[in-house]
Amino acid sequence: MTNAAVHMEGQLHAPAHGAVATGAVHAKGQQHPIRLYLVVWGWLFVLSTFSYLVDYFGLQGYLRWSLILLFMVLKAGLIVAVFMHMAWERLALAYAILAPPIAVLVFVAIMVLESEYTHFLRVLFFAGPS
């Protein structure tokens, strides 16, 4: 009985292995185990739940903002690195794509200064009751 079960299992697995093997032979490009995608998928769910809970529990101030940014960056990193396969690309491509968005951060810094200045002027000259 046990032998039969083992035999059956072997029978069932053999073609699957064969299919994977031939698939791997033909496979070109990005090939990674399905398990990896499932793990990343799970983590994305967990991180999204965390960022939702930040709002649900009504955290405020710097704690809220830093947690939101942390979960955002972790999720973005997982998506780009694993789902979009950037972790396995050559650095020439990775840097060509990932470095230019740094310019956006410079733009953010400029606009933070600018909007604080605008806010200051509005408070100074259009100060209403608030």
Binding site: Y52, F71, A76, L93
Partner: protein
């Protein structure tokens, strides 16, 4: 002719890694992206340009929100729903987030099965991805309808800073358009996969060029990017 643009032509055996590799790739006086097809490289460059577009939207939203002297409407309350008598903050957006992440997961697996030349599973997973995407757009339409009924307009709203409506419609509208285009793109490629175009190397209707299973990965890049943008919108617009 098409053979010359093959992506994975086992070129020179050993390539350098690290900084030397970057210098060698960029200075080689040939194609820079050595083991990446033009299709994939150009999709990445398109996504980079799209990154800048969405960055500009989020930046203008940040500038409006930081410089206004009127209080910004609380998104946690604006997007709350009453479900079975319970008032749950931001619940619709949370569900939309999970739907989009699930669609990214099925897309990643579709790419995997594509490279294994598993026609049926690839197409099925792509269609599941498309269904998730369509659900997302449907929920977004519901959200827009609800807000418009409550009086949100690009020039004002009942709760605070008038720029809220303009930022909301612009950012989520542009993202929803991307999802919609992605769904159409997914269905088109899934049809080709199911028909076996990439197994018999059938030539495309418009381009007359052979397709390869790599298009599933390129399509996947676009779809994951849409999910990626939502990660930023979710964090910066809805949660902030």
């Amino acid at each position: 002719m098409a053979e010359t643009v093959l992506t994975h032509s086992g070129q020179s055996p050993a390539r350098l890694d690290g900084w030397r590799g970057i210098a060698a790739d960029w200075a080689s006086d040939q194609r820079t992206f050595k083991n990446v097809s033009w299709g994939k490289a150009m999709m990445w460059i398109f996504l980079l340009s799209d990154t800048f577009i969405f960055s500009c939207f989020l930046l203008s939203y940040m500038t409006a929100r930081m410089s206004t002297t009127v209080p910004w409407p609380n998104p946690s309350e604006v997007f709350a729903l009453n479900i079975a008598g319970n008032h749950i903050p931001l619940i619709l957006i949370a569900i939309m987030t999970f739907i989009l992440i699930s669609s990214s997961g099925t897309m990643a697996m579709a790419v995997n099965f594509g490279y294994r030349r598993d026609r049926v599973r690839t197409a099925a997973l792509m269609l599941v991805t498309a269904a998730f995407g369509a659900t997302f757009v449907g929920m977004q339409a519901f959200e827009w309808t609800k807000l418009i009924m409550e009086g949100v307009r690009p020039w004002g709203n009942p709760w605070g800073a008038p720029q809220f409506g303009a930022s909301f419609f612009m950012i989520t509208g542009f993202h929803g358009t991307h999802v919609t285009i992605g769904v159409i793109f997914l269905i088109a490629i899934a049809r080709k996969v199911l028909r076996g175009d990439f197994d018999v190397e059938r030539r495309g209707f418009f381009t007359s060029r052979k397709g390869y299973y790599e298009i599933v990965e390129i399509m996947g890049l676009y779809w994951h990017f849409v999910d990626l943008v939502w990660v930023f919108i979710f964090a910066l617009f809805y949660l902030w």
